[in-house]
């Protein structure tokens, strides 16, 4: 099969399609016309264009008119169906070659058909252009992958620094290497992933994305603060162990001994509490605790904002709305109290007041002469 055959087949297909469409349209046009009532009552009626009608419109009974409509529709429908038979009109692919014994070599036939198809596709101008486009796309993909690798390397490089410069914790240092490592870890986290999160957002989800970013940052800060706080407690525990050991050594040098488990626990508690209180009294601990508490509250606020959004979408009262109600109630209570006490609503000053009966149990008595 060559190109000329292909061209002839396509032409045949197009002719059949055009003919089918024309017949379909003519049938339906006839059906539509049959539905239009006959406006001519006299001979030589006037058609819709206003010209004398040479052929009077069918003015048969309604039943005959409907039958005619139905017939026309079905004729058009059949024509459409005939168009779907076009694939049957195209020549079928070459029949499978017969082998020496006359048996069919189906795999070979499929391979030959595929190769033939590919050759013809390459000759067909649009497909040839596509192949060229594909080559260009391949080159672009390689370029894109190269760019992605470079970008990822930029993202990953700071993390190499965290791992390389980390050392085994030096337990004798004032601020343990573990805490320094923790600091480097969170700094790098902030310089890489958190910065990605801070890219501006747009569109309908902009507000949601901004809120998610705030929640994520609050969570990161909370985790960082928790980690540092726990490290501090761990350091205090380690120091307690060191001092307890020192205490035992001191006891030993004085010839004193611990002879019961209870006494051992008492000694440990005494030392541990002493170390803990010393740690807790330090500025460093107070800052870490304050940072943890504030980070937890900030994260809680973000959680609540998210929960409020969901509650509002579900038509349920949100925390902020309940708080507002509480505020109103308290204000009303103050006003009620002022009314019951015969005063103006409490705002600022409070002059000396005489004993007055409250609404519940107070008794009004004349001023006593006693001091």
């Amino acid at each position: 099969m060559d190109l000329a055959d292909w061209g002839q087949q396509v032409e045949t297909m197009l002719e059949v399609i055009a003919e089918g469409q024309q017949k379909t349209w003519e049938s339906w046009q006839g059906a539509i016309s049959a539905l239009v009532p006959d406006n001519t009552d006299n001979e030589g009626g006037v058609d819709r264009s206003g010209e004398p009608s040479e052929t009077p419109l069918p003015g048969a009974s309604a039943a005959a008119a409907m039958a005619g409509v139905a017939e026309s529709f079905f004729a058009g429908y059949n024509t459409m169906l005939a168009m779907f038979d076009l694939p049957a009109m195209t020549p079928s692919p070459a029949k499978p070659k017969s082998g020496a014994a006359g048996a069919e070599d189906l795999p070979g036939a499929i391979t030959d058909a595929g190769r033939l198809f590919q050759q013809q596709m390459m000759l067909f101008p649009p497909w040839a252009a596509g192949q060229h486009l594909l080559q260009l796309l391949g080159l672009s993909l390689q370029e894109i992958q190269k760019l992605q690798r470079e970008s990822f390397q930029k993202l990953a490089e700071p993390w190499h620094g965290v791992g390389k410069s980390g050392q085994a914790p030096d337990l004798d240092a004032d601020q343990s290497a573990l805490m320094k490592f923790s600091g480097r870890y969170w700094d790098t986290f902030e310089r890489t992933f958190v910065r990605l999160l801070e890219t501006p957002s747009a569109g309908y989800t902009r507000d949601f994305e901004q809120r998610s970013i705030r929640s994520s940052k609050a969570w990161f800060e909370f985790r960082s603060a928790s980690f540092d706080y726990l490290l501090l407690l761990g350091e205090a525990g380690r120091q307690a162990l060191v001092e307890f050991t020192s205490e035992l050594v001191s006891m030993g040098s004085q010839g004193k001994t611990i002879t019961s488990l209870k006494e051992l626990l008492r000694e440990w508690t005494k030392v541990a509490d002493r170390v803990m209180i010393r740690t807790f009294s330090s500025e460093r601990y107070a800052r870490a605790q304050g940072r943890l508490l504030n980070a937890a509250m900030t994260y809680r606020l973000e959680e609540r904002a998210a929960a409020d959004s969901i509650l509002k979408m579900s038509h349920l009262p949100a925390r902020s709305e309940v708080d507002g109600l509480g505020r109103e109630i308290t204000a009303l209570r103050r006003q009620l109290r002022a009314v019951q006490d015969g005063q103006s609503p409490r705002t600022a000053t409070n002059a000396k007041s005489k004993p007055q009966a409250a609404s519940t149990g107070k008794k009004a008595k004349p001023k006593s002469a006693k001091e």
Binding site: I258, L264, A286, L301, K362, K363
Partner: protein, 357 residues
């Protein structure tokens, strides 16, 4: 030099066996104990006034006692006030009644979500003022005696400065005045906390949250050793009941109304504005120099919550010429429950009041 740990394995095992025996005996005692057995408040009382969650109680005098002296106890918001009437032999209220003092007590109740907006003005110029007015009316007196405990003492100081004409005598007990006394851990920790953020996030500050902070002041003693020591005395029913009542009180902490907490934390703990004269309540500044009535300042030498220095500072700022201070060699809680203090404290208060009646 001798190795310091010389625990004989057999003796250690014997110790464990003895411990288990005590636990078993203690379980027997516990199984006979019901919640109502440790219900706090042993002295009969009657409700004489109420507004919102706040109730004013009066403890009737014993039949054979008559009294010209009464006192209104103003307790802190952070714990329940029945600590002053914990049990038969640990009741400041009962001792004062026995000494002829009429006792009234403000019960703040348990703040709910709608109380989140209560301010210090509501508590001091509202509820305390209402109770004082009721007392003035019911006792037919122009002024009353106030006994403020811990934060209640701070409130009483503020009230006395704002309404000096209504307070005859003022007693402050383990009351913080100088909040920048740095030997108190709470004072140190408070400097790095953001009360605005806490109140915005939580509304009312949960009682459990504050409790945890108090326990962290002595984590091993209050979190571990206390319970280990308990096992040692589980078979002592009286000691066990006392312990259970204390535990009941420790963990029965009300939430703190958000706005009141905010102002107290910011103005008192962080700003230390009380001694600077910068606290404003109800639009009026609180000037401790206006506290000119007789003043008795009681404090604990080993108080880890309100360090002695924080209470003693009152002497330098109060405007009274009749100032008396007395220390007791106990901790913060010991002021209410120590047997020794129970023998000395009520007579100190009663005699001081009677001399100024």
């Amino acid at each position: 030099m001798q190795f310091p740990i010389d625990i004989d394995p057999a003796a250690a095992l014997g110790e464990l066996v003895e411990l288990n025996q005590k636990i078993v005996n203690g379980m027997e005692t516990l199984s006979r104990t019901r919640q109502e057995d440790i219900t706090p408040g042993v002295t009969p009382k009657e409700e004489v006034w109420r507004r919102d969650n706040v109730v004013l109680y009066r403890y009737p005098s014993p039949a054979n006692k008559s009294s010209d002296v009464s006192v209104l106890i103003v307790y802190a918001l952070v714990n329940r006030p029945y600590m002053v009437d914990l049990q038969e032999d640990r009741s400041l209220v009962q001792e004062l009644l026995n000494l002829g003092v009429d006792v009234y007590l403000i019960d703040w109740g348990y703040p709910g979500p709608s109380d989140r907006w209560l301010t210090l003005d509501d508590y001091i110029n509202g509820y305390i003022d209402d109770c004082v007015d009721f007392l003035r009316s019911s006792t037919d007196r122009e002024s009353v005696n106030l006994l403020g405990i811990c934060q209640g003492g701070t409130f009483s100081l503020c009230y006395s400065a704002l309404h000096p004409d209504k307070v005859r005598n003022l007693i402050t007990m383990v009351t913080p005045v100088d909040f920048h006394s740095w030997d108190g851990l709470l004072n140190v920790w408070a400097q790095h906390v953001d009360p605005d953020l806490m109140v915005e996030a939580m509304g009312n500050i949960p009682g459990e949250f504050l409790n945890f902070g108090f326990l962290m002041l002595k984590p091993f003693q209050l979190g571990l050793r206390k319970y280990v020591d308990l096992i040692d005395r589980l078979d002592d029913e009286k000691h066990l009941m006392n312990f259970l009542r204390m535990e009941n009180w420790i963990y029965d902490s009300p939430d703190q109304a958000g706005e009141a907490y905010r102002q107290f934390a910011k103005d008192f703990y962080i700003g230390n504005k009380l001694i600077k004269g910068e606290v404003v309540i109800g639009g009026r500044p609180v000037d401790l120099a206006q506290v000119k009535m007789p003043l008795l300042n009681l404090y604990a030498d080993h108080d880890h919550l309100v360090p002695p220095g924080s209470s003693i500072a009152l002497k330098d700022y109060a405007g009274t010429s009749d100032y008396t201070a007395q220390a007791f060699p106990v901790g913060h809680i010991g002021m209410y429950v120590s047997g020794k203090v129970q023998r000395e404290l009520p007579p100190t208060i009663a005699s001081w009041l009677e001399n100024r009646a």
